[in-house]
Amino acid sequence: MKKLFFPLLMFTSLYGEVGVSGHVDLDSQFYLMHPEGKNKNSFTAKQTLELEYTHKDLTLFTSLYAQEAYYDFTKESEKTERTFARINELYAKYDFEEDAVKAGKSIEFWGALELRNITDGFNPRDFRNDMFANDKLGVYNVAYTHYFENSNLSLITKLQEEQQFMAAEPYVYYFFPSFVSYDGTLETQESKNRPSIYLKYSGSTDTEYPMDYAFIYENGYDSQRYFSTTTPQNLLVGSPTRGQPTRFVENAYIVNKFMTYDTLVVGSTLVKLEALYAKVDNNPVVGDYSHIGLGVEYTIENIYESHALGLLAEYYRYDTYESDKFSDLQLFETMQNDLFIGARYTFNNTEDSSFVGGAIFDLEYDEQSYYLKFESRVHGNFKLSCDYYYIVPSTKLLSFPTAYQFLGKHQKLGINIAYYF
């Protein structure tokens, strides 16, 4: 009897709550305007599986992801190298009375703005999906947080820098010229495992105009990276070796960085700020820089029946402070002097249908981007998303092309059908 009783007791004491969820997506994209030689469309199957185990104050969580691109199963010249599987998150978290410890691979969100979160640099992005998707890579880290009544202080140590892979050339969002190859190689200023330390203080004020605030200090690898080659002459217009096969590598460098993201509530208006200043640690090509984003969001409830209209306006400014080093162009920074005007129309219906759209105006290089997205639950567990993007690149002759000039005039129509479980 004892033999049965003790294992049963052990099992019961270990018993917790298990949660399983996820979704399967079929993603179709049609490029109505695209550079010559690139695939005209892409069809991708995506699977996300999340498993969560909780027992008292312990949480174990994993998020697994895989995708298969149609063209990777067709002829060699069309292959996009966008078929892969990865672990997005795998971590353990333990909550004490006033503290918490989290260790493993995780994805965090830091930011307040709507269009682009310039302080959200904890996780690098995966370049293998479209440039409009915020497809983050999980990073290995250990975090300790102490909670005060209305605020908390976190010490986070990132343990490793992740490689950012890129799709192959036939994919429309492979930005480099056809003679440039990039295989995801990452070169780091020090060891790849040199820890990046983040000290984050965040909270909320209990004032007439309440505010959510966060202040972060980082010593470690910057979220901004740059590409380099040992044969730069192959890129120069007029060079006899121009267009010869050229290999790019990505570089990560060390910074001391100060960041803040805040949201102030003034009646029905949210006033948002994201700002950062990076002091670069003696890098030959990247100098100190700052980036700021300011935004307002005003929501009108019941504009028609129970529909709500949110009005959005945001301005972004990026500055480098060492003129002999890379500028925003060489760093592929698209939000360097940009104004975003947008709107969100929420139907507040049983299907949670909504439209989000906007226009982004580059005030320096005279570029425009327009987009419109629609989302709705269609039948029980199915969700439909459609989006349209139109990008008009700069016609200015610049010292280095903008990211959109690499892409060319571009129109994309996307349809995503997802089954959630």
Partner: protein, 249 residues
């Protein structure tokens, strides 16, 4: 002594109950749960009779004037894990945040206007907040009527906030228990918008708790039925359990 007590009671009945006093008694009838953990099922029925079901887990911490609540969505599957945290206030706007698990993002919500529909239902955010007489203006005394065979007080109330979606609420309150049985909601055009029927109360650990509300919008003919289940109260929750830390994973 008995004579004196009887005299005092007789005199007190001479003074009619005011609407403000009735509101206080209604609040008192539901007070004292300290905290609550329950599951909620929301059935949305459109004008054609088609139904959609949503499930949520709800935690509430009772405050002196206002409550704190944390709601987690369990279904539909695409919103599973979404959490909504609210700190109610009487003299200023509520503090509200939503956690979007797909983005790992906690987002602040501007809560001045609480007339917006809650998750596509016929309930607005202000319908779901804790009842507090300080949020309303009362005049005069209630009239008396009957509702489904029960003797009830009929009591009007005017929302104090100019951002309320209503210009008037008329409550039907059980004369014996002071529990609200029905509320009629009048929109900004002073027209009847919705009728909320409080379907059943259950005494849990000596405190009355609502078990279901049917909200019928008489203008669009849609109905939402909200039902609570597996509710426990006095669980020993504290403000710590409603910290923003419990929004995200």
């Amino acid at each position: 002594m008995k004579l004196l007590t009887g005299l005092v009671l007789s005199v007190s009945t001479l003074f009619a109950l005011t609407n403000a006093e009735l509101a206080q008694k209604s609040k008192k009838a539901m007070d004292g749960f300290e905290d609550s953990i329950s599951y909620m099922q929301m059935t949305l029925i459109n004008a054609a009779g088609q139904k959609k079901v949503r499930r949520m887990k709800m935690k509430v911490l009772e405050g002196k004037d206002s409550d704190k609540s944390l709601m987690e969505f369990l279904s539909p599957a695409d919103v599973k894990g979404t959490k909504f945290l609210s700190y109610e206030h009487v003299n200023k706007d509520d503090d509200q945040w939503i956690y979007l698990p797909a983005l790992h993002r906690v987002k602040r919500i501007a809560s001045k206007n609480k007339s917006g529909a809650f998750m596509g239902s016929e309930f607005s955010y202000e319908d779901l907040g804790a009842f507090n007489p300080k949020k309303y203006k009362y005049e005069g005394s209630p009239s008396e009527s009957s509702l489904n065979g029960k003797a009830v007080y009929v009591s009007p109330a005017i929302p104090v906030s100019k951002y309320s979606g209503y210009t008037k609420l008329i409550s039907y309150v059980d004369k014996n228990t002071f529990l609200v049985q029905k509320i009629e909601y009048y929109d900004r055009k002073h027209e009847l918008l919705k009728v909320g029927t409080f379907d059943a109360y259950k005494k849990i650990s000596g405190v009355y708790r609502i078990q279901g509300i049917t909200m019928k919008n008489v203008q669009n003919d849609k109905t939402t039925i909200l039902k609570w289940s597996d509710e426990t109260i006095k669980n020993g929750l504290s403000a710590r359990d409603f910290n923003k830390r419990y929004l995200s994973r």
